[in-house]
């Protein structure tokens, strides 16, 4: 993120706001994956954070094998042609979609009728497996991410916006819009909504529930891959444990926004990103870490279903 020079309060605030929107966009992109899966399976998919980690690693290795990493430490890496960047991201998305579907097939589907806790524990298991499996395969050393986009900083008034941040925000916006259209306008999207509303009835209506759940995981995972690459472009190093913190925050964002709701995930992500950035900038980065959780508790106590969620009532 961008350091802030000593300027007046308003432009400082605007700067933190702009940084926060970019940060919040990555939360939102991740939160969608949590919210989609939770909407359908009522499962906190802990492994989602590791799919994000894999996304950035898949892109990294493509660039490495393509010869776009510096040969010796300290050398300025060659930047990747823009079309190739697109191809790397697309392949990372496909690979992550496959991983996401595989996780569901292997670790969650066998437990679909085993209550709520057992799949939660396997989700934790998969998460640990990928974190430490990542260490085994990729190594524990942080890896410098190749230059996908030459950094350039735009200035609007006194607010500095790097092109990577702009890219993050625009990409997120386009993907979220696409997803919303997909879910509301297409047949597979309708099937997803039906499963999320009532899986048993959806099944009785002839919807292929398994395929729909797989699709849900594929979409969420592909978006996580994008988030992984975008964040890696912004923060140069990647590690197998990089998903842990953003994963927790993104899930919190999904809950704050109202779990099961796509606009909720977007709103939750933005709210958290901006408030973290503002609190961190004006006050203390330590307290910024706590902001998400304070928000979470306040929102849950005032409106347990989240900002944009719907309340349900138990029949007595």
């Amino acid at each position: 993120m961008v350091p802030v020079a000593s300027v007046d309060f308003t432009s400082q605030l605007l700067q933190y706001f702009a940084n926060g929107v970019a940060k919040g966009s990555t939360y939102a992109l991740m939160a969608v994956g949590y919210t989609l899966v939770y909407g359908v399976l009522q499962l906190i998919n802990f492994a989602h954070a590791e799919v994000y980690m894999l996304g950035s690693h898949f892109a990294y290795y493509q660039a490495k094998w393509g010869g776009y990493l510096p040969d010796e430490p300290g050398a300025k890496p060659e930047s990747v042609p823009i079309l190739l960047v697109g191809a790397f991201i697309a392949i990372a998305m496909l690979a992550c979609a496959a991983v996401g579907m595989l996780i569901e097939r292997v670790a969650y589907r066998p437990l679909r009728n085993a209550g709520r806790l057992a799949p939660l524990i396997t989700a934790i298991g998969v998460s640990l497996f990928l974190q430490y499996g990542g260490q085994v395969v990729f190594g524990t050393e942080p890896k410098l991410f190749p230059t996908f986009v030459e950094t350039e900083v735009f200035e609007i008034g006194s607010v500095k916006i790097p092109n990577t941040n702009l890219l993050i925000v625009v990409t997120t916006f386009v993907l979220m819009l696409g997803l919303t259209l997909f879910v509301s306008k297409t047949r597979p999207g309708a099937a997803m909504r039906a499963c999320s509303h009532d899986m048993r009835t959806a099944k009785l209506m002839g919807i292929n529930v398994n395929a729909t759940i797989s699709l849900t995981f594929a979409i969420g995972s592909a978006l996580a891959a994008v988030a992984g690459v975008l964040v890696a472009m912004d923060q140069p190093a990647i590690t197998p444990l990089m998903g842990v913190r953003i994963g927790l925050k993104a899930f919190v964002a999904a809950v704050v926004g109202g779990i099961g709701s796509i606009p909720g995930a977007a709103l939750g992500g933005l709210v958290l990103g901006v408030s973290e950035s503002v609190v961190g900038g004006l006050w203390d980065t330590n307290y910024a870490e706590a902001v998400a959780f304070v928000f979470l508790i306040v929102v849950l106590l005032l409106k347990p279903s989240g900002l944009l969620g719907k309340a349900t009532r138990e029949k007595v």
Partner: protein, 341 residues
Amino acid sequence: MAKTVGLLLAGLVACYGLNWFLAEFIEVVYVDYLNLIGIAIVLAVGLNVINGLTGQFSLGHAGFMAIGAFVAGLVSIQLTYGEMSSGPLELAGLGTFLLSLLLAGLAAAVLGVVVGAPALRLKGDYLAIATLGFAEITRILLTAQDSLGGPTGIKRIPKMPLLPGTGAWDGGTSVFWIFLVVFTIVLFSARLQRSTYGRALIAIRENELAAETMGVRAARMKVMAFVYGAFFAGIAGGLYAHYQHSVRPDDFTSIRSIEVVVMLVLGGLGSITGAVLGAVAVTLVPQLLRPLEEQLQVNGLSMVVYALLLILMMIFRPQGIFGQRELSLKLFRRILPGGRK
């Protein structure tokens, strides 16, 4: 009551005997495993009252432990050295040690009231994520206190006090103190379970509305469960602080909270026996796999195997090792040939 005093005395003697035996015959590294298992048991059996008996979903147990660890550490440092300074580790006095543990438990219990209150409005995963939020806030606030060492935490926490006949051994009296608490919480939790309070807690788990209309004050009982679990988690934190001699806020991340839930589910949610077994398995398995990792020189391998075991275990036995049953004399009688049914 007389029986209670007798049982506690017997536990005291048994823990002393165990400590003496280990000091005489066993390598300290194995004793380290044992102590970590003991602390894990206290956490798991306490959380079982909240998650297992009462059917709440708390995912913030590490927060209670963190408060306990810091309170006990600070009290003990203050009363032993008078200030935080450098120098060799000293022994805490018996009074200091016991007081620090009591205050650790009480401080965590107060936090238990705060965290338990949302349980009156929230259910299931929502409660889980809120309790996790509380634990994270606790950890972050501790990290932000420069007076408490910030991210590096507090150091030079005195050793646990010695007992007559236990001296020159690296393990000190840790086994005695830790397992005395293990003994106490297992005894109390088994008794809690089989009392009017235990039945009320289970009633809340089974059907909260029916429990309330039958006169069970669900709100009060839920907070009680949180306070009970938090109190012992605070003591576990105090023991951990005295055992490790230093604590950092990052010793108590959400990963540890999640770990305690894993122990419960693995052992069989709602069963004390299961909680104990889960605590043993989750603590020991990665440690036992460590030599394999070192031999093959592959970092992270032991955790990979552990994670795989966890996934397989859940797929093939989703109700946990013990389900909701308890290991008791009755069960032994049933299993033994010719036993009564």
